[in-house]
């Protein structure tokens, strides 16, 4: 029973981590809490659903569409909203408020186009096969979510750690001015970061849409709340923190549903987060509000 819950928790936690990773990457590099990330995540899921139902794309195609569509959307938000604020040296709160507005616009646009009701991915998109190992059932979807999430997260963490591009991003996170003097195209990497982070959000949108079997315009809202909780728990701007924080939140939710009751899910999960922050106010890996990747 517990082992079964752990598998469920792992797949849910992976999606949270994937979402939070993009969220925290933007904070680390751009120094902005981008509150449109939830809406971008939702739009990615809708784009994928459209690609599946109208173009008949298979799952991998839908994931690529979600990544590209959300990525470009993130880039456009950066160009139209964040960049002008950067150019004016706006204090941190301003882009945060501005992105709330972007989120509302996107949510309303999707609601206007597709309606407020739930829509679903076609059932045949994911195999309904289940693998049983020692009495633990793992669905193909859960396994796919876990593998894909870990692959993407490993790729991102490795790139940040080992490549010249990753070093450059960490340099920007510590000091944009130092990065400029090193010959780093800081503005260009801001765009790249916005693109990749939003793209990961789009993929997370598809995965959660499949996992919960529902897409709806406000699906980004609760995800955004979870994302904020996860990156505060992990330590603002810290990649490992987002990963572990996401997995922890998935675990807390699944276990509270299993052992306390589903109506208490968020209360228990967020209560646990609160308790951890009482003990470690800076988050697991954090140096509070200090930007780093």
């Amino acid at each position: 029973m517990l082992a079964q819950q752990l598998v469920n928790a792992l797949s849910l936690g992976c999606v949270y981590a994937l979402f939070a990773l993009g969220f925290t990457l933007i904070f680390g590099v751009l120094g902005v809490i981008n509150l449109s990330h939830g809406a971008v995540f939702m739009v990615g899921a809708y784009a994928a659903e459209q690609a599946v139902s109208h173009l008949g794309l298979p799952l991998w195609g839908a994931l690529i569409v979600a990544f590209a569509f959300s990525g470009v959307l993130g880039l456009v938000i950066d160009l139209l909203v964040l960049r002008p604020l950067r150019a004016r040296n706006a204090p941190h709160l301003i882009p945060m408020i501005a992105t709330i507005g972007v989120g509302i616009i996107l949510t309303n646009a999707i609601q206007g186009i597709f309606g407020a009701q739930n829509i679903r991915f076609p059932e045949q998109l994911v195999s309904n096969r289940t693998i049983s190992v020692e009495g633990i059932d793992v669905t193909a979807l859960e396994l796919g979510i876990i593998l894909l999430s870990f692959m993407l997260m490993a790729l991102l963490l490795l790139a940040l750690k080992k490549t010249q591009l990753g070093r450059a991003l960490r340099a920007i996170a510590e000091s944009p001015r130092a990065a400029y003097l090193l010959g780093i195209n800081v503005e260009g990497l801001f765009y790249l970061t916005s693109f990749v982070a939003a793209g990961l959000g789009g993929i997370a949108g598809v995965l959660i849409g499949l996992y919960s079997n529902a897409l709806f315009p406000l699906m980004g809202k609760s995800m955004l709340e979870k994302g904020i909780a996860v990156i505060i728990l992990g330590g603002m701007g810290d990649m490992r923190g987002a990963l572990i924080g996401g997995l922890f939140l998935g675990l807390a939710e699944v276990l509270s549903v299993a052992y306390v009751g589903s109506s208490m899910r968020d209360a228990v999960a967020f209560g646990l987060l609160f308790l951890i922050l009482l003990i470690r106010p800076r988050g697991l890996f954090g140096t509070l509000m200090e930007r780093k990747v």
């Binding site: 450059a168 510590e174 130092a178 003097l181 780093i184 195209n185």
Partner: protein, 239 residues
Amino acid sequence: MTVAALLQVQGLRVVYGKVEAVRGIDLELSTGEITTLVGANGAGKSTTLLALSGLVKKAAGRVLFDGRDLTRMAPHRIVASGVVQVAEGRATLTTLTVRENLELGAYSRRDRGSRADDLARVFELFPVLAERANGLAGNLSGGEQQMLAIGRALMARPRLLLLDEPSMGLAPIIVQDIFRKLLEINRAGLTIFLVEQNVRQALKIAQRAYVIETGRVVLTGSGRELLDNPAVQQAYLGG
């Protein structure tokens, strides 16, 4: 002058809000020389350097580097064209290792092959960096961080090195050491533009010097001449 001017600054002005920090200065740096810009705190030295690197807006004036106009160039392109700055104070990235800092120094270069050779050369120049290569830059002493900042700039293979107060906050003996290294780097052929508050040290190693006061160049000459100049002695060298 027989040597060609590598960098020419003409009528540079920088304005912060209502304050005019740099009020129309002209500079000429000759290839292979050490040129210094000295003056008191707040005279406009750092602002001048930031303007050269494209980090603050120029209200007026032109910057020509080896015939190319850098006036409106983006900071990363200025670095790529060979003008590399070592910023003021602890300019190293403290959350990265020493080696990562140095490798990032070569960021603007496309020729990856020679990076290892350059790294070896920097380690030869500053052996302490080789010893601490895998440690975080934040754990280095102030002097070691300054060496790292200089070594990192060299990794870009600059044709002109801009230094903003390399002596800042360092013990005199360390300052001596840093300045010796700068001379060594210069003798190997690199043109250096040094901004300093430590006027005596700077004038000693500079072929050409400018004295800046409240945003204007008030005196120019060779380093030697200015060291012997009574006005300079009184204002900056403690009489």
